[in-house]
């Protein structure tokens, strides 16, 4: 290889070797087994496996709940990022640290806690029940659990971008007479928009796959509150490996496409602002 002599720093072969070994064993090898399992299915079997009516009902529930959860997180995350990036106040550090709680707390712990709090006789559920709001064992509960576990995505992608926004952008808008709301909408929001979309997208992707936090509060009633992850787990418990693999292939495809879309969109957006001509 002609480029090899140009590599100044040592360790190329070693790090390439270690990385490829790891990636092959840990990431790629298990994926080959998925392809192997899928190849035992004919197209019609595959189609039947992923269009089972109970499964289709779970697609709907999962998508609806994940959409609601990520929209909530977009707003909540924007508020938290703004407050943490722009203001100083006593207790700010604690509030800041709390934002990471959903990532640090095991999902199963979050799951049983939310299920207990929001059950009809739980601390919060008993307050909501007289108002006619049922959370546990409904799609709302699923959305709540998804929202809880994916809180940090929007906050942590938007916060640094807001902190980087030069004070001069604010000042320019103010000297031109803009009101708070107008300046936020026309100057700040466009600047943080890619981060908001990225964070919301990641939150959505995570919510689609959420399992531990969801299954406790969902109640897992067929056709009503089953999520896709649970359907996979159920197939596995029934030793229907091919059926599980079929669902998994779809789930992986959707997550990867989502990830790819976020990356591509983000890349295009930044290129445009940093002087690329179109």
């Amino acid at each position: 290889m002609s480029t090899r002599s140009a590599r100044v720093l040592p360790g190329f072969s070693l790090s390439l070797g270690v990385t490829l070994l790891f990636v092959s064993l840990i990431l790629l090898l298990p994926m080959t087994s998925l392809i192997g399992q899928l190849s035992t299915l004919s197209w019609s079997q595959y189609w039947a496996a992923i269009t089972d009516p109970r499964l289709i009902a779970s697609y709907k529930v999962t998508l609806l709940a994940a959409l609601a959860a990520s929209l909530f997180n977009a707003l909540f995350g924007l508020l938290m990022a703004w407050v943490l990036a722009r203001y100083t106040f006593p207790g700010k550090r604690i509030l800041d640290a709390l934002m990471d709680l959903p990532f640090a707390l095991p999902t199963a712990v979050a799951g049983i806690t939310l299920a207990t709090l929001y059950s009809r006789n739980g601390a919060v559920g008993s307050l909501l029940d007289p108002l006619g709001i049922e959370v546990a064992y409904t799609w709302l509960g699923i959305a709540l659990a998804m929202a809880f576990t994916s809180v940090p995505f929007v906050v942590r992608t938007v916060q640094p971008v807001l902190e980087d926004l030069p004070a001069q952008a604010d000042e320019a808008a103010l000297t031109l007479g803009a009101s708070n709301l107008y300046a936020f909408r026309r100057v700040i929001l466009p600047h943080i928009w890619p981060a908001v979309v990225t964070g919301t997208g990641l939150s959505f992707a995570r919510s689609l796959g959420e399992f531990g936090a969801v299954i406790f509060i969902a109640g897992n009633m067929p056709y009503r509150t089953e999520v896709v992850s649970l359907m996979m787990a159920t197939r596995l418990e029934e030793y229907d490996y091919a059926g599980a693999a079929a669902i998994a292939s779809l789930v992986m495809l959707v997550s990867l496409l989502l990830l790819l879309a976020i990356n591509l969109w983000q890349g295009r957006f930044y290129r445009r602002l940093h002087g690329g001509r179109h």
């Binding site: 709680l101 999902t107 490996y241 693999a245 990830l259």
Partner: protein, 275 residues
């Protein structure tokens, strides 16, 4: 300095809203864990905490973390070095591959391993002929945990090492430093806080992983039940205090994680300010 939204009314209103929502959404659940754990007093809590079942679950949880963290630490460093210090064909693909565990459902992760190493999997059937069983045993739980947590260290290191560039290491090479010396004396001091941070995240996830390990564990009491699985098992058995005892233990670990993270951030922030 004047900034958008720095009027007293706007400021106080937004801060109040943020505090109220965070309390409702995050603080009350966190407090609820401990409330439930101590609902019947200190004695049942202590009894649950010191039971054999819990002790075994703690043991397995620590074992998984102890095996996962070093593997992913070493891998993360090599990967970060590779993609930030060299250009080669396939670099972008490699970086995307690493994000897969981050994007897929943990159940899918468990499933991939079950399909490979289970009795029907091609590798699993070879291994079972040798009487080696990885699935429904602790080695399988370690493997899926490694899969699920492998992006964390690398994701912390790559942006930092990219931003720092390789000028310092190149200077080291011109001064005749060996590879190991280069890493130990130049690279490591620059990345150590990101490294600690990556380890903390890996560790937290390794301790708390539920979806992936539940698929490959088989729930064999005393053998393949770690703390999160124990939480589920006790909760399904209507042993609420027992479930929340283990949950409280995990929540306490989460709080420690958050405190270390906050300390690290404060530390690096202060260093940036004085620099």
């Amino acid at each position: 300095m004047k900034r958008i939204g720095d009027g007293t009314g706007t400021r106080l209103g937004l801060i109040t809203l943020a505090v109220i929502l965070t309390t409702l959404f995050l603080v009350i659940p966190l407090a609820g864990i401990f409330y439930q754990a101590f609902a019947e007093g200190l004695a049942p809590f202590w009894q649950n905490l010191t039971s054999n079942f819990t002790r075994e679950a703690i043991g397995l949880t620590l074992l998984i973390a102890l095996m996962t963290v070093p593997v992913n630490l070493i891998f993360g460093i090599f990967l970060a070095w590779l993609v930030t210090r060299f250009t080669f064909p396939g670099r972008r693909i490699l970086q995307t591959l690493i994000d897969i565990p981050f994007a897929v459902s943990p159940v899918v992760a468990g499933l991939l391993y079950l399909l490979l190493y289970g009795r029907t999997g091609w590798l699993g059937s070879i291994l079972s002929e040798q009487d080696v069983q990885l699935m429904f045993a602790w080695p399988g739980m370690v493997l899926v945990t490694i899969f699920v947590t492998c992006p964390f260290v690398a994701r912390e290191l790559i942006p930092l090492m990219q931003a720092q560039g390789s000028a310092e290491e190149e200077a080291g090479v011109t001064l005749g430093a060996s590879g190991w010396m280069l890493f130990r004396r130049i690279t490591l001091p620059n990345i150590r806080w990101a490294l600690v941070y990556g380890v903390i995240l890996t560790n937290a996830r390794a301790i708390g992983e539920f979806g992936a390990v539940s698929v490959v564990s088989g729930s064999i009491r005393g053998e393949t039940i770690n703390l999160p699985l124990q939480v589920e098992l006790l909760y399904q058995d209507y042993n609420t205090v027992g479930a929340f005892t283990s949950a409280a233990l995990l929540a306490a670990l989460a709080i420690v994680t958050l405190m270390i993270k906050a300390l690290l951030e404060w530390h690096t922030h202060r260093r940036e300010k004085t620099a």
